[in-house]
Symmetry: C2
């Protein structure tokens, strides 16, 4: 209902698809179901509109990621399953259309909006990694993982789990089937655990290989 939100949402879609320069304010207005002067009335000019749309998009994306990380159980019955769920959820956040738009724009418009992009990067990526590092550190504290540097491990977890999925989806061009996501995520978790899982303590079942 709120027109401002609708405009920002439409702006993120159009900017995300076409980039700042090629995006047309007319299209944003009509997608938002609003007249062009309204857009200018609320946001002043195209650059401000871009800035606000990207800020909002990045904020929403960060909240989703944050919720996913906060939901990690640090005393899971099954560590591998817990990490796979986490991996899937993170990949889900990143491969949503709006999440991709935010990432794409941060990369493609960093020359036009260097301060904005730097803000978002330190405000979101850094905090995401810190949050995940905290969870991993807790898992290490209870002896499930062996970590020298939780931040580095957090960053590597994300790289392992998200990178191939992004690449094979052609950065969001192609929708992926269930298995095309499952395989890489499982393998990313495998590698992560092979590197960081604590050696099986008493007897029971350890890691596969």
């Amino acid at each position: 209902m709120d027109k401002g939100e609708r405009i920002l949402g439409a702006a993120l879609e159009v900017f995300g698809r076409d980039g700042f320069a090629a995006a047309k304010v007319d299209e944003i207005a009509s997608r938002a179901g609003v007249a062009k002067p309204t857009v200018y009335h609320r946001f002043g000019d195209k650059e401000t509109l871009f800035t606000e749309a990207l800020r909002r998009g990045a904020g929403l994306a960060h909240e989703r990621v944050r919720a996913v990380i906060d939901a990690v159980d640090v005393r899971p019955a099954d560590l591998r399953a817990e990490l796979e769920v986490l991996g899937h959820a993170l990949v889900g956040c990143v491969s949503r259309e709006d999440g991709l738009a935010v990432s794409r724009l941060q990369i493609s418009e960093q020359n036009r909006f260097p301060e904005l992009v730097r803000d978002l990067r330190i405000g979101n990526r850094t905090r995401t990694i810190d949050a995940l590092a905290g969870k991993l550190a807790q898992l290490a504290a209870t002896g499930r993982l062996v970590l020298r540097d939780p931040s580095r491990a957090a960053q590597q977890f994300i790289a392992l789990v998200a990178d191939e999925v992004l690449a094979s989806s052609e950065y969001g061009q192609r929708a992926l089937s269930r298995e095309e996501v499952d395989g890489p995520v499982r393998d990313g978790v495998d590698t992560f655990l092979a590197a960081f899982a604590a050696p099986a303590p008493p007897a029971g079942e350890g890691q596969p290989a």
Copy 2:
């Protein structure tokens, strides 16, 4: 000396900095030290110029990466050192200004040039990973690594080594000092080896931790 090459080089710089839509053919021409009609004489229009510039840039980048991978010694005296050298060299390829331009453009212009970007991705990324997978498989064959899926391992090696460097350089905005590259690369190799190194066979020195 060849004007065509100079034009393509200038085009990659300018397109890489500004994106397709915002890049000005006039600037490309003047950077190449050439008159605007010459550009149109050789390449017809802006889209063709873009296509050829990106193809050429991706080709050169791929050749450099390829050379780095081909140079890997599959019977190294020191596996860790060999992989660190490889990691550094790969990061070097990826953080050159023109390499970054190629990556940025593949991401930002995939909606405008979907076929081109798909071509490059399967032509280069896939072949790069295959080449690296071959080397890793050889290392596995001689008992230095234990790999279930060499392709997956190759992709993960690249993700581990390159991801954080790219992120912390703000995708090429900021130049990195020697240590800012060394640390992440070493840690990436650490994790890779922790996951895939064969358990130390006889006695001698194994992996640190």
